[in-house]
Structures are given as structure tokens and as C-alpha cells.
Subunit: 237 residues, 2 copies
């Protein structure tokens, strides 16, 4: 098999190289969403490598959600659409991994989360829809249930803040915050909430709901600061 790749980078394996090349085509728009790549046999001929090598390259791309594969007559590898929604879990999982592997303490994680969220609240106050208020009202009601487990309380908290961020109406913000908030959920899950702590959080949530309803961004910022302090106190107690 001819080595028409001999001019390539010397010290990377072929599957990386080929994956990189296809990735380029996707990034530059040569290949667009739902395009079908050539079959594995065609790719192996085109690049002068074996089918096994091509497959390894395709697996790399699949692991990054850049392509999907389908078997059968009309099957093959197709360029993924990669919506923000699809990228949520990937992002959150990476964030979670980074935080646990690097032993980030809960104070640092909280600080980051509230700092980012604080940046969104003015936009949220400006762009919020009624549906966001409805979601937040519903979650507050759940949070008032004293029989809720700490884990469920935390999950409801995430949903509440997710709605707050979504209210900003900016998909990029929602995506980034989803990572920040959901990525540190494992850490938050280790917090033990006493009833007094929960009451404090819930009343802050209610105040935030009202501020968002009347579109007072500056009030929301102040409340976020209170909430950050409250959460830190609870976490470190």
C-alpha cells in the first residue's frame, strides 16, 4: 500500500492524522451536518491505509460526537448536527471529571458557579418569559417538602437555577452554566442541609422569583450574593 501520507507529521499515528483531517473538513464546512462520509473501504483507499486504521479514526470522531454511524445498505458515517442540547452532558461530564480529578474544594467550585450565574441575572431579568417563572415556582414548591432527600433537594435546586439561566435566552450561556452547575452537582450532593438551611435557601429563591418577575436585575445580583454566602456557610459547617 503506497505511503502517500509520508509528508505528514512524523510522530503521530495514522488514525490520529486521518481523524484530524476529517475533523478539519467538518470545522471548515467542507462537510456539513448530515453529510455522509465515504464508506470505510473508500476512505481506506483514498488515504492509502487499511480499513482498520480508518475505523480507528472514525471511532475517535464518534467519541467526540462529530459523527454517527449506521449499518446496512444506506448506512455509513454521517456528520452530526451537534446541538447545544446534545453537548450538555458531554460538557457536564468533563467538568465533573476535572473537578474530582483535581480535587477542587467545594468553596472554589461554589465560588465559580455563583460568579458565573451572577453574570447572567441581568440578562435573565431582561429576557425572561412566564414559563421560566412557572418552572421556578414549581421547584420552590418541591423544595418546601420537608420529606425531600438531600439529593432530591439538590436536584431541584439545579432545576431552579437552570431555569434562571435559561431565562437569559442565550444558548451559549445556558450551555456553559449547565456545565458549571451540573458539573459540581456531585460536590453539592455531599452537603447536608439542616431544615434551617433549607428554609434560608427557599426564602432566597422566593425573593429571586419575585425579582425576576418584576425584572429587577440589580436585586437579583444582591440575592445571588446572599445565596452564595448561605451555600458556603452550609457547605463548610
Amino acid at each position: 500500500m503506497s505511503d502517500n501520507l509520508s509528508n505528514a507529521k512524523k510522530h503521530t499515528d495514522l488514525s490520529t492524522f486521518i481523524a484530524e483531517k476529517i475533523r478539519e473538513d467538518i470545522l471548515t464546512g467542507t462537510l456539513v451536518a448530515d453529510d455522509r462520509l465515504p464508506s470505510e473501504s473508500e476512505l481506506s483507499e483514498a488515504h492509502g491505509v487499511s480499513r482498520a486504521t480508518v475505523r480507528e479514526a472514525l471511532k475517535r470522531l464518534a467519541a467526540q460526537s462529530l459523527i454517527r454511524t449506521k449499518r446496512g445498505a444506506t448506512g455509513g458515517a454521517f456528520v452530526n448536527r451537534l446541538t447545544f442540547h446534545d453537548a450538555y452532558p458531554q460538557m457536564a461530564s468533563t467538568a465533573s471529571l476535572l473537578i474530582t480529578l483535581n480535587e477542587v474544594d467545594i468553596a472554589t467550585a461554589c465560588e465559580a458557579r455563583f460568579a458565573l450565574e451572577r453574570g447572567c441575572v441581568r440578562l435573565a431579568a431582561q429576557n425572561r418569559q412566564d414559563i421560566h417563572l412557572d418552572i421556578m415556582r414549581r421547584e420552590i414548591a418541591r423544595q418546601k417538602d420537608p420529606d425531600l432527600s438531600d439529593e432530591d433537594f439538590c436536584a431541584s435546586d439545579v432545576a431552579f437555577h437552570r431555569a434562571l439561566v435559561d431565562a437569559a435566552g442565550n444558548p451559549v450561556l445556558s450551555w456553559q452554566l449547565a456545565a458549571a452547575v451540573e458539573g459540581i452537582e456531585p460536590l453539592m450532593n455531599m452537603i447536608t442541609y439542616r431544615q434551617r438551611d433549607r428554609d434560608a435557601v427557599v426564602s432566597l429563591h422566593e425573593a429571586m422569583l419575585e425579582a425576576l418577575g418584576s425584572r429587577v436585575g440589580s436585586r437579583l445580583e444582591t440575592l445571588m450574593d446572599y445565596l452564595r454566602d448561605q451555600t458556603l456557610r452550609t457547605a463548610l459547617s
Copy 2:
């Protein structure tokens, strides 16, 4: 070869399944950083699949930076340490891909970037070191050079804001903002700066440097708002 995987999920291929299994081991701490995985042959025997399938699984993990491989006698697949620093490019590249593939307009991207960055400036004012001021001073000096290309001006802008965010002293924040700022760099690169626009940006940067130096967070927030408006005006003109 026996099918001791027959109890697995039916509709996913084996390489996905095996990759998922190893990924679990890393996430749960069964495998920790720098641990060596069994060799490909051993893995193929252990899972009852061929070596080719194991390799595809390993390529998937490598594409997510979860493992690295080394050739030779003491080689093999090793669990990656995955520091925040290593995750920067991965994150920025995903952000960039999402933004281009979903045709996010420059206004939305800018809005997100400045909203997030605004959330950091109070922390930055609180925790900044002299080195951050030095970096920012240096970049401002570069930005005053009228012969600088738009692209270089933009790159210097990124470095300036990177220093601002790093001043907050929170690795989680730095990581997230790196994605936001560098991910939209391709979009920012399409902006044409007139000299008047550059002057406006530079004078805002100078004011921010001074505010950060004297640790006045609220002033920084105001300046960020000006900068956002200025950037949007430039971008949309």
C-alpha cells in the same frame, strides 16, 4: 471466542461498551491517574473480544483525553491526569464548533462572553496579583501599535481578558472563561476594527487596569458593560 458479554446492552457495539466500562473505572476511581491499563492482548482476552475491537475502544478514550498510549517495552495505555490546563483546548474547540455549527450570531456570543466575564471581575479585584497587572499592561502596549493586524489585535485582546479572569484565582472560572473567550475568537476575528474603535477599546482597557489595580470591583463591572456595548457597536457596524 466466548460471548461473556451477551448480557450487555444489545444495541451498542462492543467497542462502545468496553470503552464505557473502562471510563466507569476511571470515573469511580478504580483506575487513577498514571495507572497502566492491561495490554491490548490482555484486555481482548479479558473481555472476550478481538484486539481490533479493544483498540477501537481505546481510541475512543484517547479522543476524550482520558488515556494516552506509549509504544515499546514499558509502553501501554495510561490513565491521563487531565489537568485544567490540558482541558482548555478541548473545551475551546468544542465551544467553537458549537458556535459555528449552530450559526450563533456574534451578538449572542458577545453577550454570553461579557456576561460570564462580568461575573468574575469582583473576585478578580479581590484576588489579583501584580503579575496579572503586568500582563495586562504589556498587552495594552501591544494594542496601541497601529500596525497590528486585526487578528493580532484580537489575540492580544484575548490575552488581556485571560489575565483578567486568571486574576480571580479560581481554576474553574479560568477554564470556563477560556472556552467562552477563545471559543468565540473565530467570530471576533471577523470584526474589522477602525482606528477609532481600537482607541475606544484600549482606553477602556486602561481604565480596567486601573480599577483592578485599586481593587474597585464595581467600577470594573461598569467598564465591562461599556466594553460590551463598544464591542457590539463595532461588530455590527
